[in-house]
Symmetry: none
């Protein structure tokens, strides 16, 4: 039976939408790695009554309660008071912590007297173990009451992250008896519902490991998660399922535990010592920006041209104006000429050309909004995809760059480039 944790974030700024609850994301990631199930996140304002209610609910359904926020020196920082009251504990002043806070202020403020309210941060529920704050003044703490582990962490993400990693992870490791491991399978080329229908039987049959899909803009990701006594046993549970998924989806999978499609392509280019240049019309630099998102891109990416005006296609890429006049700027031959042109001008191994109608205007009956041609020129070949990417401008532009990246990936791994099976 694995442990269940619940994260309660305290802070009115979260309920006002000033910031997202990234602490819950990061803590959940860490807890899931430790094999601890997180069933709920709750966000509550700087309001002791509502925090108390949230704690009452959470203690009924979790073994581990983790709070973030409300440990600071100001009058609305009430987490320790409220949690102590919920579990019938006194707040006790910790001399040593108080001295530490004073020393911190002396180092940082050199002479400016410390506001007295900072010493509120030296009070903790009786019997609590103090968790040192290596990045700020407010220490956290952990105590056990009624069989529940209550852990209080500071709200600022840097402080929360550091305290969790250095002090809470070792504490939780002592509690947990199972290893939980996951692999993430990254897919491009088919939608979530098709992936799901191909894998439906497998997904429904599985209990440990589990396999769950989620979609992000134009991609699908599958998460495979196993729980076992050891890392080896967890991997052994996952290996046959990973094989089945790979057999079913084949080259739709662009990576397992990969960073992103652009990072995957960049790594392939760097590994193979190949260079690339881009010529983009409707995407106007989105592809070059994605390719250079990762450090080290300069060894593979030479440069690109955002060729919005037709004159730029001719002037900088050498596309014949007569070709544009005859075929239209959004056409298979112009995409190919852009790809070949940028490859030649920049002396790259690969040239990508993208031309299309991102909308909302500019569509015709023959070439509606969403019509995009993506061409890839190599020293041996030219490949083109002719795409219909819908009517949403942002999506059309993003998907066009996804297709370009997918084509480069396929050339670099010896797969069919133009068609997605």
């Amino acid at each position: 039976m694995s442990l269940r944790a619940e994260i309660i974030a305290v802070g009115t700024e979260l309920l006002l939408g000033n910031i997202a609850n990234t602490n819950a994301k990061e803590l959940s990631e860490g807890l899931s790695t430790l094999g601890i199930n997180v069933y709920y996140h709750t966000v509550v304002g700087d309001n002791p009554r509502r925090l108390e209610q949230a704690v009452e609910i959470a203690r009924g359904r979790a073994d581990i309660l983790i709070t973030t926020g409300g440990l600071g020196p100001t009058y609305d920082d009430l987490t320790k008071e409220t949690l102590a009251a919920c579990f019938g504990k006194q707040l006790i002043y910790h001399e040593e912590v108080g001295r530490g806070i004073q020393a911190y202020f002396e180092r940082r403020l050199a002479g400016v007297p410390m506001p007295e309210n900072n010493l509120r941060q030296a009070y903790f529920p009786a019997g609590a173990e103090i968790l040192q704050n290596d990045c700020g003044t407010a220490p956290g703490c952990v105590f056990v009451a009624e069989g529940k582990h209550v852990i209080m962490l500071p709200g600022p993400p840097r402080e929360c992250r550091a305290m969790f990693g250095r002090h809470v992870v070792p504490y939780l490791k002592r509690l947990s008896d199972a290893e939980i491991l996951s692999h993430t399978i990254h897919i491009f080329g088919k939608g979530e519902s098709e992936i799901e229908s191909r894998l439906k039987d497998l997904m429904q049959r599985l209990e440990n490991p589990t396999l769950a899909p989620y979609a992000k803009l134009g991609e699908v990701t599958l998460r495979l998660t196993a729980r076992a006594d050891s890392t080896e046993a967890a991997e052994a549970l996952m290996a046959p399922v990973l094989e089945q998924v790979q057999a079913e989806l084949g080259d739709l999978i662009y990576g397992v535990d990969a960073d992103s499609l652009e990072a995957t392509v960049l790594r392939l280019l760097l590994d193979q010592g190949r260079t690339i240049a881009t010529a983009e019309s409707c995407t106007a630099g989105l592809l070059s920006a994605r390719l250079t998102d990762m450090p080290g891109a300069s060894a593979a990416f030479l440069g690109g041209v955002a060729a919005y005006a037709n004159g730029v296609k001719s002037e900088l890429l050498g596309v014949d104006p007569a070709l544009i006049a005859a075929q239209g700027a959004v056409s298979d031959p112009v995409a190919c000429a852009m790809a070949a042109g940028v490859r030649a001008r920049l002396g790259a191994d690969f040239g990508v050309g993208i031309t299309g109608i991102a909308g909302p205007g500019g569509g015709t009956a023959e070439k509606p909004v969403g019509t995009v041609f993506v061409a890839l020129s190599t020293t041996e070949n030219t490949f083109v995809r002719s795409l219909a990417l819908g009517t949403d401008r942002t999506r059309v532009r993003h998907m066009a760059t996804n297709h370009a990246l997918d084509m480069v990936r396929r050339v670099l791994t010896g797969l069919p480039v133009e068609e997605i099976a």
Copy 2:
């Protein structure tokens, strides 16, 4: 008495920490603008029993329940089923929605048969009003039961955001008895803490309207919100405060109720019939991609060059290789030569040149990571900003494009270009 809303996000990926709950952030921001109090956020996995428990708790303490996620076609998308069961409602098939989903697939997939499970998305609780999804297939819905307003929105942030803005905001406005209006004041050039300290007295003094700051990557936004019996009365409350803020911040404000910095710049260019071209090294197309994010960009944006390799700076932009050798690729004169080069080659009114060290590698003692030069070349002048943008690669790249856009805005509105007061 203002309405209380609670947001329940459904998705195991949130509890695994794969993604942060940005929907709750965005919805809370919108709800707060409408004068609706949000007291809790809850996150629950794709598990009908636990979702049911979360709904039971929420219905006891909120007037408006908003769910996000779990509306898709797959077997673990169970939000509609669970909410219908909680409120004792049948699920009903909506013919028209079913046809719409089929049509969407025909447009998008051109001949590929639609996986049958997509039609699950056409079932809704009896009596629900359907909320159209303008960015995906899964519609949302709203129904009223036991005096509660139950609103179900899709999980993908783009879809959630669009549906909330287009369909839920008007719905919620009808529930509220007061007019709530806001203006958003967009600022670039100073950080949140400086803006806050300049406006601190004003912010603390105000009750209606309220003035609250938000920071987003490299920009600061102030939201001014008034509640009154009529639109006119709300505007009258806000007008003097808006004037005070404008007097205090002056040309740091790039717009009120503007879309974005790039949209503001594009509109100025279009209004003045001026054209622009870009030459980007470390940002490699980010600026051109931002400038073309809006429809109609082609009338102002001619094209751009992502000049990553030094050879590209010379070949496509005419930057003298001797200048690069003498000054370094990351230097004031090279930024100016890039800006002038792209302006001349493309025949634009404005040329922007960006060169810098985005990191994490490539820094030196003299030019550390984050050193960026942004140049703007016009028919009369050349302007440069020499910047130190920190050590975070993503932030360095984004801020460099923000500065470029700010410089263009300042030239177009007759303000000092190189210095920010």
